[in-house]
Subunit: 153 residues, 2 copies
DNA sequence: CAATATAACTTGCATTATGAAAGTAATAAT
DNA sequence: ATTATTACTTTCATAATGCAAGTTATATTG
C-alpha cells in the first residue's frame, strides 16, 4: 500500500506521504466537518470508499499517529476513531482545501457563509474548531457544532 | 488516469480531484519554492517522478487550469510551465502542508527560519510569494527569491 | 554542414494499487 | 435461539504506476 522509506524529507512530501492519498483527507473531513467517528459512518459517505480501502486508510492514519482508535464505551462491536493532536493540526489544511474548492467549483456544496466566516477570522476559527473537535463535536453536525455556536445560517 | 465525473461537490473533494494525487503538488512546489518550470527541471527533482507520469500530471494540471504551458522564448525544444491565478491560489495550501510536515518530520529539510517567518506574518508572506512567483521568481531560488528579499538566513 | 546531443514527450510491459462483491467473527437486539 | 449489526478480510478483475527504451524536433559541436 505505501512504501516505507520516504521519497524525500521535503516537508510537503512528508505531509503527502502521511495523508496525501485520495481518501485520507476525506476521512478526516468526515470527523472534523460532520462528527463521524466509526467505520460504519465513514463508509456511508457520499464518495463511496470501498470497505477494504477504508480499512487500509484507517490503519495507515493510525500508524502515522493522526488517528487514535478506541473501543466504544458501551457497544463492544464498535471502534471509535479520534484525531490526535497531530491530526487536529490538519485543520488549517482542510480549511485551505475547502476554501480553494469552494472558490473554483461553480457547483460547490460549501455554504458561502461558512467560507466567508473562516476567511474573516481564520485564527480564532481554527482555535474554535480545534476545541470543538477535540471534545467530540464538529463543524456542521451535532448540538455543539461550530456553526450552531456561531449561529451561521 | 482520472475519472471525469466528480465523486461529490464537497469542496475538499473538488480540490483533491484537481491536484490531490501523489505528484501534482510536488510539481507545483518545484515552481513555487525552486523556480523550476520545464519538463527537464521537474524530472530532476529528488523524488524521481517517472517521465510518463510527469507528462500525464502536467497535462492534467493544464486541463484543470492550474498550469499554463508556453513555448520557450528562444529554445524551440522547450516548453515553459507557469501557474495561472488559479494555481497561484494554491500557495496557502503549500504553506500549510509545509508547516505541518516541518513540525512533524524530525529529519525535515525545511529551514526553521523560513517556517517561523511564514507563521509570523502569513498574510503578507502569501502576497509576497504570489507576486514573486507571478513574476517568474520563487521562494528559495534565483536572485529575486523571497528569502533573499527578506534576508532570511 | 554532418554528427551528436538535448528536450519533451510516448510506448511497452511488469508490478502494484484500487474497487466491487462476497465472506467472516464477534457482539447486540429481538 | 435467531437474526441483525459492526468491523473488518478475502478474492479477483481492472486501473494506475513505474521503469526502460523508444521517437521527433530542435540545438549544439567539430
Amino acid at each position: 500500500m505505501k512504501r516505507s522509506d520516504p521519497k524525500s524529507h521535503c516537508p510537503i512530501n512528508f505531509s503527502l506521504e502521511a495523508f496525501g492519498d485520495t481518501w485520507s483527507l476525506l476521512i478526516i473531513r468526515d470527523i472534523v466537518y460532520f462528527g463521524k467517528n466509526t467505520y460504519g459512518e465513514f463508509i456511508e459517505s457520499e464518495e463511496r470508499i470501498s470497505s477494504n480501502i477504508l480499512a487500509s486508510r484507517l490503519a495507515h492514519l493510525e500508524l502515522k499517529g493522526i488517528l487514535v482508535k478506541k473501543p466504544h464505551a458501551t457497544d463492544k462491536r464498535k471502534e471509535v476513531y479520534f484525531l490526535s493532536d497531530k491530526g487536529l493540526d490538519l485543520i488549517p489544511i482542510l480549511l485551505e482545501l475547502a476554501g480553494w474548492g469552494a472558490l473554483y467549483d461553480p457547483e460547490t456544496d460549501a455554504p458561502q457563509n461558512w467560507i466567508s466566516a473562516v476567511k474573516a477570522d481564520r485564527e480564532s476559527m481554527i482555535r474554535l474548531i480545534r476545541d470543538t473537535v477535540r471534545n467530540g463535536g464538529s463543524i456542521f453536525s451535532g448540538p455543539d457544532s461550530v456553526v450552531s455556536k456561531l449561529a451561521i445560517t
